[in-house]
């Protein structure tokens, strides 16, 4: 794996050099992990003029770390507590002869930036912008395989839940049970707080589980994901409780299903992100639900659960092959509930069989 991290750092270094900076400071934890293999609490990565350094706030024993730091990378640990690795790294950049340093202005606070400036008043601080986030958008097969395993784990956890009795149990209990099953099946942990919505809560994006119990006739929406080796996937399904769904439930489900399928089918390399969003959205719009739609119908996933690209009406940019995204349209009717269907897929060229579906739990309307 070490070569992978070194290659990523080379790639970033080239972008920095092209932008006129010989050195870069990466502070956002997911970006540090992407380039260094691990992101100990508070650690920053310096791409220096002569050497790359992972600068850590304290001894590694003090705080456990996910991932393992790249062995090719030198590690510096600040001696005492209270030091800021970003400030220390700035000093190290100057010691290496850097005249300018590109930093992540969208992550550093004003106070940290000021402290960096004060230890190196002659250093020119520039903005690295979202350079690392942009590198992270297209995944390699190793990364995709972590997402695939995470998706399998989420599918298993969800499948087991469906075999159990649901009526009478609370949203909170169901969410906790799902999270326990994720860990049982080998996840590092949940990729995000598991959402379980019943009855009027069903179909709400990001609904936080309450003490409401599952009742006959409810819609039940579940959204969960596993983290596997740092990579986060997402699956969402909606079910009906009881033997026979009501007509309005079948109608709404079919509509959201069509929208989600339209979104999935629009996932081709080169497609504009806003066109994928529009493909899903217009199915719901034209059925009169324009007011009940979420602001986005999908997003990238990876080391974070919400990454670029966004699938939304104002999104810029196009999809590339090997970009994993969610497709997750939904309709929520206040007071009545609703439907969301959410998959994680990888954009693939048509020649390779089109989009690769990672979350394979059925999307038929199941009555449980």
């Amino acid at each position: 794996m070490s070569e992978v991290y070194a290659a990523r750092r080379t790639c970033l270094r080239e972008r920095c050099n092209a932008g006129g900076s010989a050195a870069a400071l990466v502070s956002r934890p997911a970006n540090v992990r992407y380039l260094a293999g691990a992101a100990p609490h508070g650690a920053v990565l310096l791409l220096g003029k002569t050497e790359d350094l992972l600068v850590c706030a304290g001894p590694p024993g003090d705080r456990p770390t996910e991932g393992r730091p790249d062995e090719l990378l030198s590690v510096r640990v600040l001696p005492g507590p209270g030091g800021d690795p970003a400030v220390a790294a700035t000093g190290l950049a100057v010691a290496q002869g850097a005249e300018s340093l590109a930093a992540e202005d969208h992550h550093l606070t004003v106070v940290r930036h000021r402290a960096m400036r004060s230890v190196a008043p002659r250093l020119r601080l520039t903005d690295l912008g979202q350079a690392v986030e942009q590198l992270r958008v297209v995944k390699d097969e190793e990364e995709i395989s972590c997402l695939r395993i995470g998706a399998e784990i989420a599918d298993q956890a969800l499948g087991e839940l469906l075999e159990s009795i649901l009526v009478g149990r609370t949203e909170r209990h169901l969410a906790l049970e799902l999270e326990r099953r994720l860990v049982d099946h080998g996840a590092d942990g949940p990729a995000f707080p598991t959402s379980v919505g019943t009855g009027p809560h069903a179909g709400r994006r990001g609904h936080r589980p309450t003490d409401r119990r599952v009742e006959e006739g409810d819609f039940l929406s579940v959204c969960l994901g596993a983290t596997y080796r740092g990579y986060r996937c997402e699956i969402g399904r909606t079910f009906v409780i009881g033997t026979s769904p009501a007509d309005w439930q079948i109608e709404l489900y079919d509509l959201v299903f069509s929208a989600q399928r339209a979104g999935r089918e629009a996932l081709v390399p080169g497609a504009a992100c806003r066109d994928v969003d529009r493909a899903a959205r217009q199915v719901l719009d034209s059925a009169g639900y324009a007011e009940n739609l979420p602001t986005l119908t999908g997003h990238g996933v990876g080391l974070e659960i919400d990454e670029d690209p966004q699938l939304a009406p104002a999104a810029m940019g196009k999809l590339d092959a090997c970009v994993p995204v969610t497709v997750e349209p939904g309709v929520h009717l206040p007071g009545r509930g609703g439907v969301r269907i959410d998959d994680t897929l990888v954009v693939r060229p048509e020649a390779d069989g089109g989009p690769e579906l990672l979350t394979i739990t059925t999307k038929e309307l199941l009555a449980l």
Copy 2:
């Protein structure tokens, strides 16, 4: 409750006015919640010249919110997605005639600060510093009662675990079960990721649970906490698995127990934070464990699990009455394990009976 939030805002406003700013922008979520009753995702609080406003990123239905916004407070919701409430609030401050605005430079990123500057080039942006964090240090009885309930919940969850069979179960399972029990007993959720360490992992602060199983003869350290109405408490205990602890285990346990008691007994209004730390630390130091100690032996708790004050060798400041803190010395011997004992207490004057212990689970060395 509304009067409480209004009084807190008045208090902050007076500090700002004294510092020469007629308006303040609060962006750190726990600070927003403290002053507004709730912190919807991304929301900021403007203390304006003529009106206080809670500026939210999107409609409240989109993202669930903990707490309920103070009814005395006007709420503005940004119309479209992608807007930054901090930038919008800056514009609103100018519209109210503010010439300067004090912002939380330790929370705002460089990019957000730049965007605020660009919408209001004539506005003087100053640093509010940790003014709200300082207000939060001393708690009122309502806040302490939330912490007390949280501590009861954590005690219950821990007590139930101790009644079950532990040998053969993994750290991860025990941690998940504890978190489930916290929620069962009415917690909003865990106050922080539950830590369970067995054998060589026991006694490590912040140990992340692994698949190691509990064995006869192990030390078992558990650290958990409940969030109740936003307030977070913490309890940590160490046990021995099996009928009779080894001599070294009894010795180490007694030592950490003495250190923790010394720390608790040093909690009096007016005591220097570093003296409380020293009281606990010197017991362990003089037994030869100076190398095996954590960087702090306690910290404040409240809306966040790690607040001011810090109980550490270099800490400044003194304790006031009604400040809740943890006292949590520990010794970890690499390869062998160790002991941590952690309570949440409220500093109270001697006349009121001295420090109030919120986490009442026994600190005898239990063999389970």
